[in-house]
Amino acid sequence: MRYSGLRVLKEALTGHKGWKPAWRDVAPQAHYDYIVIGGGGHGLATAYYLARNHGAKRVAVLEKGWIGGGNVGRNTTIVRSNYLLDGNEPFYEHSLKLWEGLEQDINYNAMISQRGILNLVHSDAQRDAFTRRGNAMILNGADADLLSTETIQKRYPFLNVNNARFPIKGGLAQYRGGTVRHDAVAWGYARAADQLGVDIIQNCEVTGFRIEGGKCLGVETNRGYIKGDKVASCVAGSSGRLMAKASMRLPIESHVLQAFVSEGLKPVLPGVITFGAGHFYCSQSDKGGLVFGGDLDGYNSYAQRGNLPVVEDVCEGAMAIFPMLGRVRLLRMWGGIMDMSMDGSPIIDHTHIESLYFNGGWCYGGFKATPASGWCYAHLLATDTPHEFATAFRFDRFAKGQMIDEKGMGNNPQLH
């Protein structure tokens, strides 16, 4: 069933009796060509692009809980492609282009809103760095605009540009960036994949891999053994836990990142704004709540909840640039588990075990990467060669000294 305005009208006039479940509830078959482990945004996108771009027929997505119950439902919904390094920027720009055409492609309203993102500058050195970054973005076909303090003050009159300690000296804007309704991304990809014949199997937890002679033959699950010609791990946040079942150690630590939503307000915040002196980013959802976040808690965690010092730090960041928020009440906060990699960049690669593939290490940039991650991972799975935009995301880059370290933090996952 195609969704359209006409369809909504017709259903409205006929008592909404024609809507059907957006995807089938299926039991696992004994054998698939491709098994994608993880029914989050990346896993569902991978399955969808496997079927759409590569004509894959027998594809299963195994999800231990329910579709969209993991990190795709626990992020701050921002999309952007404002990266510096050659290994990253073409990939994220491809992702942003896919976001721009996504709703038409999957016939699903993902509420993609290109309301723009503004990174604030607070020092001369930071302006130099952001100028360089903006140029790198433009060289890779993205859009970037360096703004003066005057322009910022005119466009965002509520910003405190004269903060004594962190005055605002300018900003780097990407107008094509914005926000997306995150749950709709999972549901839209699930529905589109399902229509192409992908089996989405919920409540199916992978408990182990069957590996013989250095080759992965399939996966053990709580719903029995499933044979798979190619097995694709796509469980960022839980990568350590899953790949330990294949006796693999990863260049990844799991960390908790907290996110926050305020009570609903009238429109106060156009676009996404990030604070450059601390670590704070904020946007306003369509419901009116301010959605914001900051740093990791900074220690290994699988707990999906953080501690109070970071809450305080994030709120201090908010007050430093948006003094108008002083009386806004926090509505709720939550933690998501991030695959923090050793250089702050992801991995989309085959493993040393034949037929076993890996996608993870998204740090806290996974949401914006969803379409390109699925696109490139599907390409790798179908053709056994990396996609041209993801050639740098290899496992062996650490041994070869080819890290993609945007922040220059070295192998300190908690600092990326």
Binding site: R249, P251, E253, A303, N307, M342, A399, N411
Partner: protein, 95 residues
């Protein structure tokens, strides 16, 4: 989180800087034949368990000691805190 410092007693974890898996205490032998491979593993690969994790915390805002803390990564519960220097000496090292 409260870390029960062996010398200073219970301290807020905000006084500390997290320094990663305590396996980092044991540097590979730089003269070994496969030292390069060992250092790649040492520098970049982690066990990253969901459960008890033995890790290093540096008391940066306090006495600057390194602690070896055993903490459950699924609950943040801390079960043991030792001075890293004691742990290293226990393994026959001079410091």
């Amino acid at each position: 989180m409260i870390i029960n410092h062996p010398i200073l007693g219970p301290r807020d974890s905000a006084e500390f800087t997290y320094m990663g898996d305590a396996a980092l205490l044991d540097r590979p032998d730089w003269q070994a034949k496969d030292a390069l491979l060992q250092f790649v593993d040492y520098g970049y690969l982690r066990d990253n368990p969901a459960g008890p994790h033995i890790e290093l915390w540096y008391h940066e805002q306090g006495d600057r000691s390194f602690l070896v803390v055993t903490r459950d990564t699924t609950t943040h519960q801390i079960s043991s805190v030792k001075l890293a220097s004691d742990v290293a000496r226990g393994r026959g090292r001079s410091k």
